[in-house]
Subunit: 356 residues, 2 copies
């Protein structure tokens, strides 16, 4: 299968809705651009992708997405530099990960050219929606789900691959407070935690609501067997700085292999920051908080970028993190966003310019 | 909130499609009745339920069902006796479990009267679709999902509760061969395995496909920590008979609390069959298969009723189960289906007649 930009069937909007977007007050992922990409998998093959006005999807009540959670997604961003050129960050890694998720959820693989040609063609149509205000970006949501019908609990025979985009502001406003969770879990050994599968997120809502009620913003998950090891947060991988070493847990079949996480690790090494990828116990983090060697914690993810953590709760005790002069998180955030917004040299080869 | 049958807004089909249903060759859950029940949750409350012709659902591409797997369901059956009277089996337990699933997935509770009045009104309209052929029944699928919009990974602000029905034949044709799984897992400690959440099912598809490729029909899940204990199958709880004792594992936050399972336990006790609800190790089952004390295994669930297991695979060895004269599974299946189809006295009070 192979597709070129010129093959994509395009139906443009008659009237853009860009004038209705309040670019000075963007929430996260709640207003959408003029167009969307839709590609249907049927009879064992992907049909020609189409770009249409952003519009509702119509499905049979027995479509398996409603019953069996056969759905996956990706999260990406498009950034504009001061010349209004458009950039993506490591988009091929999102494509690869989408297919890793697809394999685990029995969803057909989407070819790279369908993904990349579809995405860049869509961005060229909707690039006026990319915010230029500091910290703003166009959040891009490629997703795939089972559109085939029937109540039999087995993979569907039809799927949709869709890309929709939302001009967005920050995911979190300000520093976040996290709760280290010991009762509920995000994923099982041998489960689907490493996939960006829809069900992984809904499963987090209830424990997260409980944490929010207690005054936290997010849950930090621990392993479901012993609850002794730090895993990740709802939509971010977690970094912990003890003295001058930056720690993050290893990826596994329970943890999403974050693109921000692996980029941060490379940048940190390049910056001469000592990093360690190893299992991190809750115990050592609590001990470090008590003896003052815990300097900072932050979450890392496409939506959240680098989100500093103000403190964490564990077994009814709150631990505050100190204000720092020389924050690794701040430094790393500046370096990664400078690459993303084309403000600095791209020494790692991560920037991807969307050619018009 | 309270609703009566007369409050439900009904729009009937102009032409029934019942003539298109081949009642002699029914698959499972692939043809649907004339009508469906739809109820929308909005602004913090359930709106008036409506019954409409069975028809497509239209949703925004950002509806959270597509992204975060916030969906749950139930599986029930309607049975007809020889007088064409219509019966349900313990329907209030399905309602209760739907709300248990809802709580875990941050979906609003559906009041009992919305569920029961909606269901019985729908069944009265579509009762001609209930198969009368031996082993046939109307499979009923109540489901709820997040129809509210936005890419923020948090609970939706709008939901749909829908009931759709499918005249159905047997879920499995003939005895099933199962594979005891040691690598992949169905659910985590502290996870959502006890909920009928959509994502639990999609997560099973891939390991089940692998098992099917090896010649099995279903996977028997083991606990994700040690893989030493038998949990349940894809859509059935598991019973194991060693000598004359009928064993099944205890429910937990990883296992669905099956209505068939608990009914079987009660019937077995009433029949003087010795039952034990306790953790079952794979080791003891393999040892029992080897020394001949393993007499039978069967799955129990609404869709599968009681499905005899012909044999199981474990670590590249296949273990066949003997043909039995006095099968507990057969005996229990006859008793439970006689209750369901109103062929016997209902000594446990489980039958629920749908009044017309
Ligand atoms: C569970 C989870 N962990 C981590 C991440 C961070 O991954 P990435 O940096 O690729 O966005 C995300 C979101 O994107 C996520 O959903
Ligand atoms: C995972 C799972 N286990 C067990 C069962 C059996 O439950 P019940 O007997 O209530 O149908 C089902 C299906 O209904 C199921 O989906």
């Amino acid at each position: 299968m192979s597709i070129a930009t010129k093959d994509i069937i395009i139906e443009k909007v008659k009237n853009s809705k860009i004038d209705q977007v309040d670019f000075d007050n963007l929430a996260f992922g709640s207003v959408f651009t003029d167009h969307m990409l839709v590609c249907t998998y049927k009879n064992g093959a992907w049909e020609t992708p189409t770009i249409t006005p952003y519009q509702p999807i119509t499905l049979d009540p027995s479509a398996k997405i409603f019953h069996y959670g056969q759905s996956i997604f990706e999260g990406m961003k498009a950034y504009k530099d001061k010349n209004n050129d458009v950039f993506l960050f490591r988009p091929l890694d999102n494509h690869k990960r989408l297919n890793i998720s697809a394999a685990r959820m029995c969803i057909p693989q989407i070819p790279e050219d369908y993904f990349m040609e579809g995405l860049t063609t869509l961005l060229n149509l909707d690039k006026d929606f990319i915010p230029t205000k500091d910290g703003g970006s166009l959040y891009i949501r490629p997703f795939m789900f089972a559109s085939g019908n029937g109540f039999h609990a087995s993979p569907a025979n039809e799927y949709k691959f869709i890309i929709a985009c939302a001009p967005s502001g920050a995911y979190f406003s300000g520093k976040v407070k996290v709760l280290i969770e010991e009762k509920y879990s995000r994923s099982a050994n041998g489960g689907v935690g490493y996939a960006k599968a829809g069900g992984n997120y809904a499963g987090q809502f209830y424990p997260t609501q409980l944490a929010i009620e207690k005054g936290y913003n997010q849950v930090i998950w621990t392993d479901d067997t012993s609850h002794e090891y730090i895993e990740e947060a709802g939509a971010m991988n977690i970094f912990i700085r003890i003295n001058d070493t930056l720690l993050t847990g290893p990826t596994s079949d329970r943890i999403l292999d974050g693109i921000t996480r692996k980029s941060i690790l490379e940048i940190a090494k390049d910056q001469g920051i000592k990093t360690e990828v190893r299992k991190i116990t809750v115990k050592e983090v609590v001990a470090a908080a008590k003896d003052g060697s815990l300097k900072e914690m932050f979450g890392a993810g496409t939506a959240a970028v680098i989100s500093p953590i103000a403190g964490f709760g564990y077994r009814d005790t709150d631990y505050d993190l100190p204000e720092l002069e020389n924050s690794f998180g701040e430094r790393l955030k500046k370096i990664i966003t400078d690459i993303q917004y084309n403000k600095s040299e791209d020494k790692f080869g991560w920037r991807y310019q969307v050619k018009s």
